[in-house]
């Protein structure tokens, strides 16, 4: 692959992300978020970062957005909610858009004049990456992994047996 593909996919990802935050329908916004994450995965592949690409597809596009969709589809958005969203979008997005725009400028300049290298980007071996993650960067990797414990505690808390308490509330 080449930098050309990577820039094309990244542009698509950026455009889809912008559209995702400006849609009134939550499900359409999620679809665009999914499109953005998929395009980002393609950009990783194009930069020969295959591992990042497949993880992007499997974890973010495949699982995380599925959870969002799972929640959103159970909420009846309806026309009233969409009208409220449109009203908010009229002014609420201006400042965030300005900050995002300002932060994108250096990246654009980087793409224009930065050291990109010639031809296709060099690929990295998965084994090397694994050894790096659990070798030199072992402590950082373990610290990030610890964040999952927060999720586990959350699941335990949400999944606790509420039966007796609910019955009590019913009596009240």
């Amino acid at each position: 692959m080449s930098w050309g593909f990577a820039i094309w996919a990244a542009t698509l990802a950026f455009a889809a992300a912008v559209m995702a935050v400006t849609r009134a329908s939550a499900v359409h916004a999620l679809l665009l978020l999914l499109a953005s994450l998929l395009a980002l995965g393609v950009a990783f592949f194009a930069m020969a970062a295959n591992f990042a690409g497949v993880i992007q597809l499997l974890i973010y596009a495949g699982a995380v957005v599925a959870v969002f969709v799972f929640v959103v589809m159970t909420v009846d958005a309806g026309e009233a909610a969409m009208a409220r969203e449109r009203e908010m979008l009229r002014s609420a997005w201006r400042w965030p858009a300005l900050f995002v725009g300002l932060s994108v400028i250096p990246i654009l300049f980087g793409i224009g004049g930065g050291p990109m290298g010639e031809g296709a980007p060099a690929g990295a071996d998965t084994r090397e990456l694994g050894l790096l993650l659990f070798g030199d960067w072992g402590v950082a990797t373990e610290l990030v992994a610890l964040m999952l414990i927060a999720g586990m505690i959350g699941v335990r808390h949400l999944g606790r047996n509420l039966g007796p308490r609910l019955r009590e509330r019913g009596r009240e």
Partner: protein, 320 residues
């Protein structure tokens, strides 16, 4: 491989897969007929073989409309999401030595990612249908995918450890001595179980179970959109079979016959097993299905992974 050659080979592969999925529907209906002591399709062509062609023509010409109150764009997009990711997954399958469209060095995870994306077809199709049965089916699909995805990937990591690679070709070559289903029986069993769930096949098809949800997420679909969902399902069965053959049953390895023939025979045998399981097992209850994934599937996969890792380090002195 130049881009033009890659495109031509991709088109040939897609055409072959579409025909294979069509033939598989005939095999399934005849197979189910045999197992249930009835004839199955037997009118169109010899032994009803051309039934799938007649069905395709019928579905192509059927009316296909968006239900009132439904979301037209999402409704039309969802069936495509059922078939396209699975077709993309075949791009990295090693049909023989050096015989794959893209020899990705982490083909295993790529296929898992593509299979995971198919859940959007069901969830979005369900939501866009504006129908309660469909929505319930979509919710079941999302919960099932999240439950089984967790140990689907972990169940095959033992194989990856033994082979020392995520590349499908290298995993097959590592089985030249002994097939991995002998070394990884627990991993193999868990993988096949999760594979049935990933392909949304009976007995794990609660998102479309006709007894309680009419047709679940597919209730409002007809014509070619309906056919695309089925196409995705049959292709997923073939893809999961191909992945299982590659990981646990020696891929293209075998005596006398050429590698791709062996690969095709093994995939066919495993796909037949899918039909056999469909015919003999009843559907579990929905909470039993999800409960099994979290209470048994995931812990067993983790224990298997731990033991395999310990054995690999003790015996082989890996990694390095």
């Amino acid at each position: 491989m130049s881009i033009a050659v890659a495109i031509i080979l991709s088109v040939i592969l897609i055409m072959a897969l579409l025909v294979a999925a069509g033939v598989f529907t005939w095999v399934e209906r005849r197979g189910l007929g045999f197992l249930q002591e009835r004839l199955g399709p037997n009118r169109v062509g010899p032994f009803g073989f051309l039934q799938w062609v007649a069905d395709t023509v019928k579905l192509l010409t059927k009316e296909d409309e968006v239900p009132p109150g439904g979301d037209a764009i999402t409704f039309r997009l969802a069936p495509a999401l059922a078939a396209i990711p699975v077709l993309a997954g075949f791009g990295v399958v090693a049909f023989g030595p050096g015989l794959s469209l893209a020899a990705l060095d982490m083909g295993v995870i790529f296929i898992l990612a593509m299979l995971a994306l198919t859940v959007y077809a069901m969830v979005l199709g369900a939501w866009a249908s504006h129908n309660r049965y469909a929505l319930l089916g979509g919710l079941r699909a999302a919960a099932q995918m999240l439950s089984y995805e967790a140990f689907f990937g972990l169940s095959l990591m033992g194989v990856v450890m033994l082979a020392g690679s995520l590349s499908l070709g290298q995993i097959v070559e590592a089985q030249s001595g002994v097939w991995f289903f002998i070394l990884q029986p627990v991993g193999c069993a868990l993988f096949l179980l999760a594979g049935i769930a990933a392909a949304h096949r009976l007995p794990f098809d609660l998102q479309e179970s006709e007894q309680d949800l009419v047709a679940g997420f597919m209730t409002e679909y007809s014509g070619m959109s309906f056919a695309l969902f089925f196409l995705g399902e049959y292709l997923a069965v073939i893809l999961v079979s191909a992945l299982a053959v590659t990981l646990f049953f020696g891929g293209w390895l075998g005596p006398i016959l050429p590698g791709p023939i062996w690969f095709g025979l093994k995939v066919g045998a495993l796909a037949l097993a899918f039909i056999w399981i469909r015919a003999i097992l009843p559907r579990p209850r929905y909470d039993q299905l999800v409960g099994f994934a979290w209470k048994w599937g995931l812990p067993l996969a983790l224990i298997n992974l731990l033991l395999t890792g310990a054995l690999v380090v003790l015996i082989g002195g890996r990694p390095g």
